[in-house]
Amino acid sequence: MGARILLGVWLTIVVILGLSLPMVAQPQQWYDLPIIPGLEEKARIIFFHVPTAWLSVVAFISSMIYGIRYLRRRNPEDDIKSASAAGLGFLFCFLATVTGAIWAKFSWGTYWNWDPRQTSIFVLLLIYGAYFALRSAVEVEEKKAALSAVYAIIAAVTMPFFMFIMPRILASLHPEPILNTQGKVHMNITMLVVFLSSLAGFTGLYYWMWRLQVRMRLIELSDAQKLGEHSRG
């Protein structure tokens, strides 16, 4: 209960700071954020867009890890954890795609230009979609859990190839995105603190939502088991 309120307060402060701190060319005060050339005020989306992209990857990896644990121990709880992580991952992946497309519209002039990062988030979205299509197509619970875990593993081993492939294909077609030519985003310490707090806050939010989902599904599972015992007895 206390942790939940703390999380709410934390995220409120992060949102207010992220949207309201002034952006100036030469930061003097502790509360000044620097202007990133080419991004200006649009840089504020970094506080909300990057955490969603980060969580869609975290959720995918944790879904895979719980999938592997399911394959080793055959405990239905691991499958519930894996599926819940994937569900939230899909939500955050969708948010990352949409916020990224809006950012691209104002920075690069178009919602979608198959930039390497846009391509990889799109593929992640496809993988999540395929994962749920597979889950809904298998009726037996044990088989559903095992097959979706295997699919997550195979998707996870083929994903890294995009890091090598995308630069080879798109370099000739598209101008380098603004963030990549600089190699790194120039943040000052205030901006970094707000950014990391936002990252931590959103990760906390993800964890809280995930715990809720897992608890709900565990109750459903035990209810179903009790019902099964009842009808048998």
């Binding site: 593929v123 088989k143 097959l147 295997v150 593993i153 190839f161 492939i165 080879r168």
Partner: protein
């Protein structure tokens, strides 16, 4: 005598026995072969109709070649596992052969099918589509070879997964596409290089990606196949 060997013989002979069994039952029904053949012919004629008398740039044509191959593969490569489920022979096969032998037997069978599809597609494509001229044949031949192996590798494990699901036909391309996309992008790129007449050395990067993709997918499939195959 041969039957006896395949049941109790070595691992390698089990693999070959499964390949032979699949090949014989395929020749009996010709389900996958006719599906693949008709798919290739249909899609190439659609491309011909839509192009009319106009040509298209080599980049577009080399991309479309792999679109034909992708959807043709999706129409026939799942057959080898779906067949076992439909006929109810999966259980027997589980008893008779180790899972890894089943996996490699089916992989070889799919490799034979997809290699046939690719040869046919390339032959028809270069016969009927005017603008499609390969300038560096060496790049193209290696790309088709590695592309076939990679296609077979990814398609086999996904086929094993969807054979257990209720909506097999539609699920197969949905699950395969994100897995095959790295391979598709690389082979399209390499085919474009071959059509543009690039030097052989320029395609080294593509070949490296293709080879490592094949190794990674086959090794992972080999590890996880038990969980898919056994009940």
């Amino acid at each position: 005598m041969r039957q006896h060997e395949s049941v109790r013989g070595s691992w390698g002979s089990s693999v070959l026995a499964i390949l032979r069994k699949d090949w014989q039952s395929e020749l009996r029904t010709r389900y996958a072969i006719s599906a693949l053949l008709m798919f290739v012919i249909t899609t190439i004629s659609i491309i011909l109709f839509s192009l009319g008398s106009e040509g298209a740039p080599a980049e577009v044509l080399s991309g479309m070649l792999w679109v034909v191959i992708f959807f043709a593969a999706m129409s026939g490569l799942s057959r080898t596992f779906v067949m076992e489920e439909e006929r109810g022979t999966a259980m027997t096969l589980q008893l008779l052969a180790p899972p890894s032998a089943v996996y490699f037997g089916k992989l070889l069978f799919n490799l034979v099918l997809i290699a046939g599809v690719n040869l046919l597609t390339v032959a028809l494509y270069s016969l009927f589509i005017n603008g499609f001229i390969i300038k560096t044949a060496s790049i193209f031949i290696i790309t088709i070879t590695l592309g076939s192996i990679g296609f077979a590798a990814a398609a086999t494990i996904i086929a094993a997964i969807i054979a257990r699901a209720s909506t097999k036909g539609t699920l197969y391309p949905v699950l395969s596409f994100p897995i095959l996309l790295p391979l598709l992008l690389t082979v399209i790129n390499a085919t474009r290089l071959a059509a543009e007449g690039a030097f052989f050395e320029e395609a080294y990067g593509e070949f490296q990606i293709l080879i490592s993709y094949i190794v990674v997918v086959i090794a992972t499939s080999f590890i996880v196949f038990d969980f898919v195959w056994k009940d």
